[in-house]
């Protein structure tokens, strides 16, 4: 294909002119150079989505049979692009493609097959079936591997017809091909088909899996990835088999392609579920660690992926990353998404032993320019205080140092985390209250304000001018956000309980605002609750309001076991960047679950819905493998959509917030009063206690959750917005 200065052709053109150009030249133009130039211009316009070009369809088809591969390829590209807009014109190209599929040049046969199967027009799809069956047995491996992918392409166009044909069976038979590239292509195609159909199951038995591993070294890096992906469909029936396979896959961890490395990690982690002996697990884990760290010398996008997966793997197999934490220290020039993820890992890997180094490092980050990153660093310091009790003092000192620099966003972050530290360690660090209060005027973010208000309320009796501070905030009560208003309400009540004389002027006013002048149901409910509580029995009220708080932890961000298991079966995929249940991000993805087998080491996680995976006995797997008699792996189609591999729907994730607060179903205030009345009449004081104390004032948004553990999350304000899921939000979906 001719080169270089085509830039001048990259310009918008008019149909009439291009048509004239395309048909110019005539017989003198031996090398068709005029036509080539015209076609290039057309291709450029196609890229610019200049849809007028579709009018040139007949002219382009006329060029298709010229004896120049270069021209042919451009015409084919045009065809693939515009066939759906003008199917009736496109049909004229069909005979040419069918002819080419019988060409004696393998490159031409493959090109035609590849092209025809891109065309999403019924006649083209139908015309592909017969030649495809022939080409699947072509004597040229290049044509055969193209044919293998072609089956998956046809499946995308027309599931039904493919399922009713014998194509999938034929594809299965191709697994016996002597050429490794063909085999890996067949597997990629099978896995692709598996991914888009509920009625198809993919089963690989040990003998097949073992054969696949043995051809790995003869495949291209991409082929290796496809084979490794397919190995996820092998369910070990015996723990020795799982171990042997894992050890044979392990050398792939030294491959220079990160897709091969991460997919190998996935396979090994998967097989570990079926390995019994602890010492083998340990030795395999040891092999996983260095390659993961080595990926940190790859381009930043790959680093990011490796780090996100490290977060995941660390939760599943903490022994994997026993490295020196320092490999995760941030470089000044790391992109922000890498830095933030490193920060998360550092937090997870911090222990009593290395906390001093980590704190020094975090303190350094807190002076950097990127506000978002600085905030996370400050939060991390506060969270470490909660995670590692013996280091709390050290963390607090670091925080106070940072606060003294008086950079507003640092002060705000620090205030929030110090509030959490007070919650975690009551009656230990209250000496620093005055230090914190000093910066009260710098706080302008709701979360920070709510935090300082909580501190004022909680320690109303120790803070000298607590009434003044509270009054200052109450003066702007109506302008504050709900979060701050809720904090103010609770703080006022606490203040009243601790300082009844001063408080009795404020409390009625605030309760009145909250119950009569607000539209927010939560605020109103809480207002009524306090009102009733205070008017019924002040002694109980004191017990309830100032009672002991359930402990909080910093280990919140652990994924629930179900999600963790699912994500570990998807190491290296996009979902591991989000670290969310896969269905929340990718609704269409076919779920993967650990398949039961006699060798499976862990008891299955019950998800509460009572649906269990149907046990697929090994004999059945073997049977399906042998009935279709197709060698390595099998993919079977069943007519009915109910399939044994259907996994249960993901459990619903009810956070403490949702379980705790009762949902207000009504809008008018009278109804609300009634509803509140009946609610409170029916509820025991015990439950009320938990309702109040766990309320929003702990910053965790936890209300009376069944368990008494509360968790310091830092993303309470950072609501997951699907439309920004990949952008700014990615770093914030989890952890810091």
């Amino acid at each position: 294909m001719s080169s270089g200065g085509d830039a001048k052709l990259f310009a918008r053109g008019k149909v009439a002119e291009l048509r004239q150009e395309l048909n110019s030249g005539g017989k003198k133009d031996k090398n068709y150079s005029a036509k080539k130039i015209a076609l290039k211009k057309i291709v450029a316009n196609m890229t610019m989505s200049n849809n007028d070009m579709v009018a040139l369809f007949p002219d382009v088809i006329d060029c298709m049979n010229l004896p120049s591969l270069e021209i042919k390829k451009m015409c084919f590209l045009f065809l693939v692009n515009y066939s759906r807009m003008k199917p009736e014109v496109a049909l004229k190209a069909l005979p040419i493609l069918v002819d080419d599929m019988a060409d004696n040049n393998p490159l031409v046969r493959a090109l035609a097959l590849r092209t025809i199967s891109y065309v999403h027009v019924r006649e083209f799809v139908e015309a592909t079936f017969q030649p495809l069956k022939r080409l699947m047995q072509d004597n040229d491996p290049y044509v055969r591997k193209t044919a293998a992918f072609c089956v998956a392409k046809l499946y995308e166009h027309d599931k039904k017809t493919v399922e009713n044909s014998d194509l999938i069976d034929r594809l299965n038979k191709m697994l016996k091909d002597e050429n490794p590239t063909v085999v890996s292509s067949v597997l990629a195609s099978l896995v692709d088909i598996w991914g888009r159909s509920e009625s198809i199951s993919l089963t690989i038995d040990y003998v097949s899996a073992s054969k696949l591993v043995s051809i790995l070294p003869d495949c291209s890096e991409w082929g290796q990835s496809y084979i490794l992906e397919a190995l996820m469909s092998y369910v070990p029936q015996d723990t020795a088999e799982a171990l042997l396979l894992a050890e044979r896959v392990a050398p792939r961890l030294s491959h220079s392609n990160s897709a091969v490395v991460l997919t190998s990690c996935r396979v090994i982690l998967y097989l570990m579920n079926y390995i019994a002996e602890e010492k083998h697990i340990t030795s395999l884990c040891r092999k996983l660690s260095p390659p993961l760290v080595t990926l940190l010398s790859k381009p930043p996008e790959v680093q990011y992926l490796a780090l996100r997966n490290a977060i995941l793997i660390l939760q599943k197999r903490p022994e994997v990353l026993r490295n020196d934490i320092r490999v995760f220290f941030c470089n000044y020039n790391d992109p922000i998404y890498v830095k933030v993820t490193k920060l998360e890992l550092m937090f997870m890997l911090t222990t009593k032993e290395n906390i001093s180094v980590v704190l020094a490092e975090l303190r350094e980050y807190a002076t950097e320019i990127d506000v978002h990153f600085v905030r996370k660093a400050v939060r991390a310091i506060g969270k470490l205080a909660i995670k590692i009790e013996s280091a709390a003092k050290q963390c607090i000192d670091t925080l106070l140092e940072l606060v003294d620099a008086k950079i507003p966003y640092i002060v705000q972050e620090a205030t929030v985390v110090i509030r959490n530290i007070f919650r975690k360690y009551p009656n230990q660090y209250e000496g620093i209250i005055s230090h914190v209060i000093r910066n009260i005027d710098d706080l302008d973010e709701p979360e920070a304000k709510a935090a300082i208000i909580w501190i004022i309320g909680q320690y109303a009796d120790r803070i000298e001018n607590s009434d003044g501070l509270l009054q200052d905030y109450l003066a702007t009560f109506h302008d504050e956000t709900i979060e701050v208003q809720l904090a103010l309400l609770t703080a006022t009540v606490k203040f009243f309980i601790q300082r009844p004389t001063k408080g009795q002027q404020i409390v009625p006013q605030v309760l009145k605002w909250c119950t009569e002048e607000t539209d927010d149901p939560d605020l109103r409910d809480r207002g009524y609750m306090y009102w009733r509580l205070l008017s019924t029995d002040p002694a109980t009220a004191k017990q309830v309001v100032m009672g002991q708080k359930p402990p909080i932890t910093a280990e919140s961000e652990k994924l629930d076991p179900h999600t963790l298991e699912e994500l570990c079966l998807n190491v290296g995929t996009l979902a591991t960047v989000y670290l969310k249940p896969i269905h929340q991000v990718f609704r269409a993805a076919r779920p993967r679950r650990l398949q039961p087998s006699p060798a499976l080491q862990r008891p299955r996680i019950e998800d509460g819905t009572g649906i269990m995976l149907e046990y697929n006995p090994p004999s059945a797997n073997m049977a399906s493998a042998s009935t279709s008699n197709s060698g390595l792996a099998t993919i079977t189609t069943t007519g009915n959509p109910i399939s044994p591999v259907n996994a249960p729907p993901p459990p619903s994730f009810l956070g403490p917030t949702q379980t705790g607060s009762f949902a207000p179903g009504t809008n008018t205030s009278a109804d609300a009063v009634n509803a509140a009345d009946s609610y409170f009449n029916n509820i025991g004081s015990q439950q009320m206690a938990s309702l109040d104390l766990g309320g929003r004032d702990d910053g965790a948004g936890g209300g009376g959750a069944p368990q008494s553990q509360f968790v310091v999350t830092q993303n309470q304000q950072q609501v997951y917005q699907p439309q920004f899921a990949g952008g700014a939000a990615t770093g914030e979906l989890l952890l810091l």
Binding site: E70, E301, D324
Partner: protein, 443 residues
């Protein structure tokens, strides 16, 4: 897998749009333009909107974007994008907007070849150049069926990276050991992190199908050759006595290695032998990482004093830690200055220092830095007064340099043997170089 590949320039013009699946609609180009290119808030290379994910890489002045649906293998996506850049570079010398515009038809042809249904196919430059060329001449050759079969065999073969008919009059192999040394030093002078990312690049100009064996002074490799005559004993079981001999022999410990796909990984895993049939010409044979006994080529002593709010005084001393016969070239020291610096004065005992206001730093260049010597820069930055005084974040001092015939890890090539059925003799050359990776000193 991939639904489409898109390339944009910085303005957001779509230069290449190739769909591989019917779910990759043209309007996705507009969505990427709006959500990523014209959105300054973007902080991630991955963006998922609904069921569509855009994964992008920026190279020179272009965006390379992969569109995927559902939960794709992200590692594969990025590896592919980087491979595309490599291919572009090897085809056009440089892969930027100009190159894309000048070769857009060829790029479409390449994409059609290296991706099928969005699955990466053979991406070996050597093979691809057999039938997809910038000259258009060779395309004609590919028209004959016999030549085509040779190409197809090559593209699907076990050694897709090497043609079988390579001939050289003089058989030569060049090995470059290139190390990037990373340092992070705290303000108190303690080494927070020091490690080496090494790569071994080989240029092989060898006839036929040569089988190469490659040896390093890696501890595990040595362990093996010491311990046995190749009876497959595994490295790792070490005794105290052999440890001392090893230290004397100057072996290094490699934390981890990754190899070009031509290296037989099974062989390496079993008996630690690096054995391979090399591609023709230049390729990266392996990458490694070392963290023990890292030899830091430069020691930096910065003294930086902020005098009130009007002045910062610098005294930066740098000492070369390597042998006096060696020298580093192009040593560049970047010393950050506060954002409100008005003017600076510099005095260097060697090289030249200059203030670069656009980067907020003083750049001190020393073209040639001999081993064991020590140079000092004294500088002063005068600050303008600011109404809103914010503490200076003091970013780290950064060094870049390159030193020939020196490896920070201590790695040495022990041998490179070439076996070929013609039994020709070959000449091998080894070069060592250490560069600064991220060499940062806080102050």
């Amino acid at each position: 897998m991939l639904s489409g590949i898109l390339i944009f320039n910085q303005k957001g013009e779509n230069l290449i749009f190739r769909a591989f699946r019917s779910d990759c609609r043209p309007r996705l180009a507009d969505i990427f333009r709006i959500q990523v290119i014209s959105n300054p808030q973007v902080r991630s290379p991955i963006l998922t909107l609904g069921s569509t994910t855009f994964s992008h890489v920026k190279h020179e002045n272009i965006y390379l974007v992969a569109v995927t649906k559902s939960n794709a293998n992200a590692a594969l996506v990025f590896e592919f994008l980087y491979r595309l850049i490599m291919l572009g570079k090897s085809y056009f010398g440089k892969f930027d907007e100009e190159a894309v515009k000048n070769n857009f038809v060829l790029i479409y042809e390449l994409l059609d070849e290296i991706l099928d249904f969005g699955y990466p196919q053979n991406t070996e430059t050597d093979t691809l150049k057999m039938y997809i060329t910038t000259e258009g001449v060779k395309s004609a050759i590919a028209n004959s069926p016999t030549d085509s079969s040779r190409i197809t065999q090559q593209a699907t073969g076990a050694q897709s990276w090497r043609r079988s008919d390579i001939k050289y009059r003089k058989n030569e192999a060049f090995v470059d050991v290139i190390e990037d040394v990373n340092l992070l030093m705290s303000a108190t002078g303690t080494v927070l992190r020091a490690d080496v990312n090494g790569q071994i690049v080989m240029r092989a100009y060898l006839t036929g199908t040569p089988e190469c064996k490659f040896g390093l002074n890696d501890r595990l490799l040595l362990d093996n050759s010491d311990a046995s005559g190749g009876n497959g004993m595994r490295g790792g079981g070490t005794s105290g006595a052999s440890k001392t001999t090893r230290a004397a022999a100057g072996s290094v410990t490699l934390e981890d290695c990754q190899f070009h796909q031509c290296v037989k990984l099974g062989r390496f895993d079993a008996d630690r032998i690096i054995s391979f049939v090399p591609p023709d010409g230049e390729f990266e044979l392996m990458r490694y990482r070392a963290t023990e006994n890292v030899n830091l080529p430069f020691k930096v002593h910065p003294i930086v004093r902020e005098i009130g709010t009007t002045k910062v005084e610098y005294s930066i001393a740098i000492k070369a830690n390597y042998g006096s016969k060696l020298f580093a070239s192009n040593v560049i020291v970047r010393i950050p200055t506060p954002l409100n610096t008005a003017k600076t004065t510099e005095r260097a005992s060697q090289g030249r220092a200059k203030y670069e206001p656009e980067h907020n730093n003083i750049v001190w260049k020393i073209p040639r830095f001999s081993g064991q010597s020590e140079y000092v820069l004294n500088a002063e930055a005068t600050l303008t007064s600011m109404t809103h005084q914010k503490a200076w974040s003091r970013p780290p001092i950064n060094l870049s340099f390159s030193i020939l015939m020196f490896t920070s890890s201590g790695l040495l090539v022990r041998y490179l043997k070439v076996f070929e059925k013609n039994n020709y003799s070959s000449v091998k050359w080894v070069r060592y170089m250490t560069r600064a990776g991220s060499y940062e000193i806080r102050f």
